[in-house]
Symmetry: C2
Subunit: 81 residues, 2 copies
């Protein structure tokens, strides 16, 4: 079973890295862009020792307590397979 945790900056937090990518893309001639924001994700392979609900809870706990900085970031978890 795999779990995915997506961590992104809160909407209210400036994302200079995304802004730089956006500027570069526009200078390179790519069209149709309004905004680019960058985030990170974690692909967690679970060993199958936990049930689906337990796994979901454990992954959410990891995302909240370790992978996300709650001051500036928000996260979203999803379980696959």
């Amino acid at each position: 079973m795999k779990a995915y945790v997506y961590v992104s900056l809160k909407k209210t937090v400036l994302d200079p890295q995304g802004k730089t990518i956006q500027g570069a893309l526009q200078k390179m001639g790519y069209r149709g862009l309004e905004e680019v924001r960058q985030g990170k994700f974690f692909e967690i392979t679970l060993d199958g020792g936990l049930g689906r609900e337990e796994a979901q809870a454990e992954v959410e706990r990891i995302a909240r307590e370790v992978l996300t900085n709650p001051v500036i970031e928000e996260c979203r978890c999803s379980l696959a397979e």
Copy 2:
């Protein structure tokens, strides 16, 4: 319209950052983990000047030509809304 580009290391490429996170989580007592791999994603807001198919093509071109290093990374695009 929003587009998401997910970039991750190819399966055959070692991910020391993911390994470190995995080790840290296990040391902290989180259970059920087999592997952790880290990737990045880009949330691209499109200005609506392109049709859906055009936008999809443009985002795939950006992902392939700029956001991904094809030697060690692979990418996946999705269009939302």
